[in-house]
């Protein structure tokens, strides 16, 4: 029983860590977008307002993919272990 609970907790932690790999992507993407925006503003300083607005919206959209991973990680760390251990205990009790 303890071994099974340990495996469940370990797998949940591993899954959460793997989910957070997706958090790397938005960081790289936003970094590249801002670098290109700097270049654009350098060429046309008068377009600063328009570029900033577009970039803000773009960055917020890009960040959503990271948020999906974050939510999966939060659920795997804080909700899944309890539920899975309960299911395991109930199954063990049913089987006797």
């Amino acid at each position: 029983m303890e071994l099974a609970i340990g495996i469940i907790l370990g797998c949940c932690a591993l899954g959460a860590g793997m989910a957070m790999i997706a958090g790397i992507g938005p960081g790289i993407g936003e970094g590249n977008a801002v670098a290109k925006a700097c270049e654009a503003i350098g060429r046309q300083p008068e377009s600063r307002g328009a570029v900033t607005t577009t970039m803000l919206m773009g960055c917020a959209v890009a960040e959503t993919t990271g948020l999906y991973a974050l939510v999966i990680a939060i659920l795997l760390i804080f909700l899944a272990p309890g539920r899975l251990v309960n299911i395991l205990v109930e199954t063990m009790n049913t089987l006797g």
């Binding site: 960081g27 670098a35 600063r48 974050l70």
Partner: protein
Amino acid sequence: MKKLDETVKKETLYIAAWTLILSAVMQSVFLVIGLWKPDVLFGNLISAAAAIFNFLLMGVTIQNAVDKDEKDAAQLMRFSQSMRMLMQLALGAVGVFFFNPIAAILPLFFPRAAIAFRPLFDKKAKETGEGE
């Protein structure tokens, strides 16, 4: 301290307004289906605050980054994204652990929904402007 850019202020207000509207809608849905409890409200509040604050911090970072050279700007943005992600993880975890998980997670996506609604209202404003 540098003054907050007018664009950043405007966009943050837009996102905050939509987040509040969608939060009110979510609370109403919880009330209608009979699942409303104080922890739904508190989960929603903490998560909505995290979403708005995240957007504001992103705006401030972008405002500072556009004044730097390309390499520094990219690095600053990556660092900021990591830190904001950690902040959201911490606040989201508090919301999920102590309050209602659904009410604590959904508001994190409200800014994305606000951006999705934006073209509809922009189009309307454009049409109104053209008609004048």
